[in-house]
């Protein structure tokens, strides 16, 4: 299962461009030479913007303005030497610098409770929107669009005019907001946000940033997203491999490897490991209905990632067949060098067959979850309580 979710600024802007949301010109570069060339084509001054997933780039020095060719080189170099989310910055967006008269904020998602589209809008945009939400909540307006209503710009024109936005800006603004609503549906987005959405010195309304969260479950409708740079940036090697194998990999800090089927069970297992005094190192969820190959691959990735003192396999078979899980374990044990304690717990669909397979290969299977967890915590401490 490929996980993309949040995409990079330039990827979000490419989506915006497809829907004619107004943007300033920009170019993606990976080194100073390209940055200089881009700034020559775009014209100075330019903004040099790190393409990273975490927010607050301005504060963290990941966005800088360059007014001369020398500054372009200097700022590009500076930013390319920085890190974000534990990785070096590899891509910059060189963008025409805008003269900003006002910064606005717009963000929207499907409300999980009502399924309506919930649109947040504020005439006070910029970097501190979460602070604003706390300190001046009345500065943020909420518009509700009932599910399925393909909203038109005039709807938002009414709303915005009621909030005192000027005639001149109300038209492009309303068009941008209604376009974003359309994009939620047609592009399968979980979140579409522009902050800041700026009014420049010519009175034009322009999307200066993008924050777009895609729905990974809809990848089959948008296969081009598999090639997004954000996809490769997001993951460690193990996460990437897990993804390719259709697994979910969560990095933690301890020394017990955890393999389970289902996220809820995984969380409860982690809770119990901590309850019994252990520390989970990672959590590999093979999901429902995992094949032997998937289980084996999960164990390979876990071993390669290293840092483990013991592994717990906690499988409760619903859609998953425990004979498949057992076969996967045996396969991994034979192929990869699993030299640490392997604590296995199997209950559910085809449990007897699973236990039998393990037994044939000299492996014991717990039936009780707490017993198995107590055991793996003990093993992680070298067999001592």
């Amino acid at each position: 299962m490929i996980k993309i979710g949040l995409i990079l600024e330039f990827e979000g802007k490419n989506l915006f461009r497809k829907y004619n949301i107004p943007l300033v010109n920009s170019m993606l570069v990976t080194n100073e030479q390209e940055a200089i060339e881009a700034s020559q084509k775009l014209g100075l001054p330019v903004a040099v913007k790190a393409q990273v997933l975490s927010g607050g780039r301005g504060k963290r020095g990941l966005i800088k303005i360059a007014k001369t060719p020398e500054e372009v080189v200097e700022k590009a170099k500076e930013i390319l030497n920085m890190e974000s989310d534990g990785r070096p910055v590899t891509h910059l967006l060189i963008e025409e610098a805008e003269t900003i008269k006002q910064e606005l904020f717009v963000s929207m998602l499907f409300d999980p409770e009502t399924y309506d589209v919930k649109v947040l809008f504020s005439p006070k945009g910029g970097i501190d929107i979460e602070t604003l939400a706390k300190e001046e909540p009345e500065a943020i307006e909420t518009f509700i669009i009932p599910f399925g209503d393909r909203s038109y710009p005039y709807y938002f024109m009414y709303k915005l005019k009621e909030r005192g936005i000027q005639s001149k800006q109300v038209v492009p603004l309303a068009r941008i907001i209604s376009t974003l609503v359309k994009m939620l549906y047609d592009e399968d987005l979980q979140l579409a946000e522009i902050n800041p959405l700026v009014i420049n010195d010519k009175g034009e309304v322009i999307a200066l940033d993008s924050r777009v969260v895609t729905d990974d479950d809809a990848l089959f409708k948008h296969p081009e997203r598999k090639n997004y740079l954000s996809e490769t940036l997001r993951h460690t090697k193990a996460e990437k491999e897990a993804e390719e194998a259709g697994l979910s990999f969560v990095d933690l800090d301890g020394d017990i490897g955890m393999l389970s089927c289902g996220a809820g069970m995984g969380m409860a297992t982690a809770d119990l490991i901590e309850y019994f005094g252990g520390e989970p190192r990672n959590f590999l969820d093979v999901g429902g209905g995992a094949s032997p190959e998937k289980v084996s691959e999960a164990l390979r990735i876990m071993m390669e990632e290293g840092g483990l003192k013991a592994i717990l396999i906690n499988a409760f078979g619903g859609i998953t067949r425990l004979d498949d899980v057992a076969k996967g374990i045996i396969d991994a044990k034979e192929k990869y060098n699993i030299n640490i304690p392997l604590v296995i717990r199997l209950t559910g669909t085809n449990q007897e067959e699973g236990v039998r397979i393990l037994k044939e290969h000299g492996l014991k299977a717990y039936l009780d979850m707490e017993e198995s967890i107590e055991d793996v915590v003990k093993e992680s401490r070298g067999g001592q309580n």
Binding site: M1, L6, F105, S107, M108, L109, F110, D111, P112, E113, Y115, K118, L120, I129, E130, A133, F147, G148, Y185, D188, Q190, L191, E193, N195, R211, V213, D215, D216, D217, A218, F220, K221, L252, S260, C261, G262, A263, G264, M265, M267, A268, A270, D271, L272, E274, Y275, G287, G288, G289, F316, G317, G318, I319, R321, T347, G348, T349, Q351, M369, E370
Partner: protein, 298 residues
């Protein structure tokens, strides 16, 4: 003897699932569909057939295969359907079942696109059908029938209603209850997706009204605000004892879905917040799953 209003309630609960409910499997020729069709039949469920467009008129492992849901319903009298179809086909399959007039629809498939889920749920609401899922283990009425993937060997008939957001965790709870000699009236796995057809509140309402259910177990997890809303509902409408459990107490704070996500949802979503919300309305919250049977007794 039942009073009249209890009788009505009994009928309402029967709408979900009894040994008399006739069930079809959409996607019955698939690996998962066929495997679980057999498991359901073994458990006693009246699995009267299934659909696989293009294979109508054939049989597979004793199940009649139909091209369409409407034909399957007409020929078998089925009123319930369970969907075991890849995510990309779920919207069409669910629409077909709803349009054909199905009364109970259970969607097991995970990773259904969110816009599709919302569209399906809106249609189900409009047609006033009972829908569970997607990405859920389904329903089991111990000793009678099951629709979905809950293992049949971990349940036993009794008086505790179980409702859960998590798949495998549900099985764990059911097994613990059964081992402890605590039988279940019905277990509804509502599914772990943020968007879903049936949530805690609807099932709590059914359990509150169901004369077969005396106590309720509710399994939640971090994220969203469904448990908080359920707590509010319990306070106002539920008189039967509720025992709760929340998974994810040690989870790192996840990345939010962006500013709107954070602002809209506020501080709800943590295990701590959910546990406190439930405790504040009198729900006993278990720290470990294994404590649940004991908490039910007290």
């Amino acid at each position: 003897m039942w009073s009249k209003s209890q009788e009505e309630v009994k009928i309402k609960m029967a709408v979900l699932l009894t040994k008399d409910t006739k069930v079809i499997v959409q996607g019955i020729t698939g690996y998962q569909g066929l495997f679980h069709a057999k498991k359901m039949r073994e458990y006693g469920t009246q699995v009267v057939g299934g659909t696989r467009p293009g294979k109508g008129g054939t049989e597979i492992e004793g199940f009649k295969v139909f091209d369409t849901v409407k034909e399957a319903m007409q020929e078998t009298g089925a009123t319930a359907s369970v969907i075991f179809i890849p995510a990309s086909g779920v919207k069409e399959a669910a629409f077909e079942a709803i349009d054909a007039g199905i009364e109970l629809l259970v969607v097991i498939t995970e990773h259904v696109p969110k816009v599709d889920v919302i569209t399906i749920v809106e249609k189900a609401k409009k047609h006033k059908i009972n829908m569970i899922g997607p990405n859920c283990p389904g329903i089991i009425t111990p000793g009678q029938a099951k629709i979905g993937i809950t293992p049949g060997n971990i349940v036993s008939p009794g008086k505790v209603g179980v409702v859960s957001r998590s798949g495998t965790l549900t099985y764990e709870v059911l097994e613990q209850l059964t081992k402890a000699g605590v039988g279940q009236s019905t277990c509804v796995g509502i599914g772990g997706d943020p968007y879903k057809a049936t949530n805690f509140i609807e099932v709590l309402e059914m359990f509150e009204k169901d004369p077969e259910t005396e106590k309720i177990v509710m399994i939640g997890e971090i994220g969203g605000s469904a448990e908080e809303k359920a707590a509010q509902y319990i306070k106002e409408h539920v008189t039967k004892p509720v025992v709760g459990f929340i998974a994810g107490k040690t989870a790192k704070k996840g990345k939010t879905m962006g500013h709107a996500g954070a602002i809209i949802q506020g501080n709800v979503g943590t295990a701590k917040g959910k546990i406190e919300a439930l405790q504040s309305v009198g729900v006993k919250v278990a720290e470990r799953l294994s404590e649940i049977p004991k908490l039910l007794e007290s």
